[in-house]
């Protein structure tokens, strides 16, 4: 589904991302972990053609992302608050995204109705603008908006951050369903190793822009990841 080849991104001589080859099959729930500055958001931004690759490219469903826009109809994402329109209510925002993705009001209402639990009564019908919602509620609205219009690829950057525990658990279920039952390719990044191992079938560890681990999730994965990152911490302590 998503094939990355020789992808690098360089800012003023510093390479922030360097992926030789990475292939994500359709319907996989894919987790990206790494410390700050590891290149997670850079990779997602390249996937969405928000920045231009220095070399190489990403092919999504046979569409070269930075050459054609044909990937847009089947791709959706929530990266950060700049994906929200602050002066709209959540409903208006959903309808707007729906209109862009060819969904009418009824379609959107049907979809959002399924997420009543997830919203926990704090999103719909509150007569509040998105800019006035709490960070967690903004995130809920952003994530659900990314599910509108039957996308085949969903990209979520740090979806668990700022969410309360109940919502985190619900979100995990949503992501699992998307990948397993609906065959959606879900790409998730997180700082929280437990969440990613719970949700993702496959986890890739980025470090300073390079892929250093590529794991199939199994009961041992969490331990392995923890060992990796605590090792890194000791290593960086020694450096100082």
């Amino acid at each position: 589904m998503i094939y990355t080849k020789n992808l690098t991104k360089t800012y003023n001589g510093t390479t922030v991302l360097n992926i030789e080859e990475l292939s994500i099959p359709k319907g996989q729930s894919f987790g990206l972990v790494g410390n700050n500055g590891a290149g997670k958001t850079t990779y997602f931004s390249l996937l969405l053609d928000l920045i231009k690759p220095t070399t190489g490219n990403i092919t999504s469903n046979n569409v070269v992302v930075d050459e054609s826009e044909d990937w847009k109809p089947f791709t959706s994402s929530f990266i950060d608050e700049s994906f929200l329109i602050g002066y709209l209510t959540p409903e208006e925002y959903f309808y707007f995204i729906g209109e862009l993705r060819g969904q009418n009001k009824a379609d959107v209402d049907n979809l959002t109705a399924k997420f009543e639990d997830f919203f926990n009564g704090e999103i719909i019908g509150k007569k509040k603008y998105l800019r006035d919602l709490s960070k967690g509620n903004q995130k809920k609205a952003g994530i659900v908006a990314a599910l509108i219009g039957h996308p085949e690829v969903i990209i979520l950057d740090e979806p668990f951050a700022n969410l309360d525990p109940t919502t985190q658990i619900r979100l995990k279920q949503i992501i699992k369903d998307l990948a397993q039952k609906q065959g959606v390719t879900v790409l998730v990044s997180s700082h929280d190793l437990t969440h990613v191992t719970d949700v993702c079938e496959r986890i890739v560890v980025l470090e300073k822009g390079n892929v250093v681990k590529d794991l199939e999730t199994n009961p041992e994965t969490l331990k392995e990841l923890e060992a990796h990152f605590s090792g890194g911490a000791i290593f960086s302590d020694e450096e100082e």
């Binding site: 969405l48 920045i51 959706s76 002066y87 862009l100 993705r101 603008y129």
Partner: protein, 470 residues
């Protein structure tokens, strides 16, 4: 950076004007009122100064409460924080500005032979008055924050005072004038303004101390949603989602909301010129005034395309949208505004039919040419805009593009119009503007294609620039 330089220049400009006023006022008064004591006359005008100062402060000066948020968790007494905020407000530029007029004027008075003690007392009274106005303004603002229509209190207060004075029910000008004179002659009376100042400060202290909690004044206001039925936009077909978004953008954000009032200024713009016969003689001015008056919204809204959407530009760029639809929505909006402004400006026919014809030609030119020019200029926009900030004195998002775009927008049509008007005649000049405008409308599709390409080419640069906080 550009913004800061601009603000400094602006401040210096005002300082220069005030110094000039302070030095020149005495001569002006002597010229204007040769048989009266200029000091008395000056005092009689103080009422107008107080009113103007209050009005100006109300719209421009805000108590710097938000800046104390980090202080609340530090081991500092609440009263100290309140005093700090109020004290800080006393150091505002608005309080220093009048000094640049008051002090030179006092010097001039002394050198003109007025008693030094008299002038000094007066000068201190003035300084105290400045501070009284400073704190009075915050009291008014505190009340208006609670009322539905936020500037109702100030309008009522100013209106009543002005009315009392104007209809001579209560002669405020001479009352205030004699009060200041009385204090100047009897220095002991200076205690009265000092007490008033103390009361104002105390009142502010009380209001502020109550409000200095995260859940009251420091909490950013949560606005009630005003949903409106925008289904009429559906007739515009595939651009309807963007039109709805644009209309909400304009109506629901501080910065853009003030632009609606610019529509009124646009309509009234001609009144600055046409009532004066001098301008009615200058036919070449009609085109400029016409362009400006019918294009007031176009220019003010258009110059920040696409920066209005800078806050969520990444979303738009990763969504399944057609750039051309996005731009066409803005285009239609600007065209509608030109038509509305032209229709509202029809009464200008009172000043001569030629003006109406010129405005019509200017409107056509605005629709055909200027809309496209300003959209094209937008593709060079690299400055983010924060929609929540007020519009007055807000130069955020202003860059070289905004100044340069003014040339093709206004100078070119005025030059062409003036030239042809001078060489051939009025009818030919009007015809030229209209032909150009119609040509723009005819080639609309082609022009939009070209403009859209420009936007696509600078996509990465724009995304990058809009995600920087400047």
């Amino acid at each position: 950076m550009v913004i800061n330089i601009f603000m400094v220049l602006f401040a210096l400009y005002f300082v220069a004007i005030f110094i000039g006023l302070g030095i020149g006022l005495l001569y002006l008064l002597k010229e204007g009122f040769p048989d009266q004591d200029p000091f008395v006359v000056a005092n009689n005008y103080l009422f107008y100064w107080i009113i103007a100062d209050l009005l100006m402060r109300f719209f421009l000066q805000k108590l710097p409460v938000m800046s104390v948020k980090p202080l609340l968790t530090l081991p500092i007494k609440r009263a100290t924080v309140v005093n700090y905020v109020l004290g800080k407000s006393a150091l505002s530029f608005f309080n220093f500005l009048p000094l640049f007029a008051i002090i030179p004027f006092s010097f001039m008075l002394v050198s003109d032979g007025y008693e030094t003690s008299l002038v000094l007392t007066w000068m201190f009274t003035m300084i105290i008055s400045v501070l009284i106005i400073n704190f009075l303004n915050f009291i008014i603002e505190a009340f208006s924050a609670e009322s539905e229509i936020s500037f109702l209190p100030i309008i009522v207060i100013i209106g009543v005072l002005f009315g009392l004075n104007y209809f001579e029910i209560l002669p405020m000008t001479s009352l205030i004038g004699s009060a200041f004179l009385a204090i100047a002659h009897h220095p002991i009376l200076i205690l009265i303004p000092i007490i008033i100042l103390g009361l104002c400060y105390g009142f502010n202290f009380k209001i502020l101390k109550k409000k200095l909690y995260l859940d009251s004044s420091l909490k950013s206001k949560v606005a009630e949603v005003n949903t409106s039925d925008l289904s009429w936009t559906e007739r515009f077909g595939d651009i309807a989602p963007f039109m709805k978004l644009d209309l909400k953008l304009i109506w629901r954000n501080k910065r853009t909301k003030s632009m609606v009032f610019l529509l009124f200024i646009g309509v009234l713009y001609g009144l600055f010129f046409y009532p004066q016969p001098v301008y009615r003689e200058m036919t070449f001015m009609f085109a400029l005034i016409g362009i400006f008056s019918t294009g007031f919204f176009l220019i003010n809204f258009g110059q920040f395309i696409p920066a209005w959407d800078s806050g969520y530009y990444k979303l738009l760029m990763s969504q399944n949208i057609k750039y051309e639809q996005y731009l066409r929505s803005k285009f239609i909006l600007m065209v509608i505004s030109v038509v509305i402004l032209f229709v509202l400006g029809i009464p200008y026919v009172y000043f001569g039919y030629k003006i109406l014809i010129a405005h019509f030609a200017a409107a056509i030119y605005n629709i055909g040419i200027n809309t496209h020019v300003i959209l094209w200029g937008g593709s060079y926009n690299r400055k983010k805009i924060n929609l929540d900030k007020k519009a007055a004195f807000n130069y955020q998002g202003t860059g070289a593009v905004q100044w340069l775009i003014g040339i093709p927008l206004m100078i070119v049509p005025m030059g062409l119009f003036g030239l042809v008007n001078w060489l051939v005649g009025f009818a030919a000049a009007i015809a030229l503007l209209m032909v150009l405008g119609v040509a723009g409308i005819v080639f609309h599709k082609k022009l939009m294609k070209f403009i859209t390409k420009k936007y696509i080419n600078s996509k990465y640069k724009m995304i990058d620039a809009f995600s920087q906080d400047n």
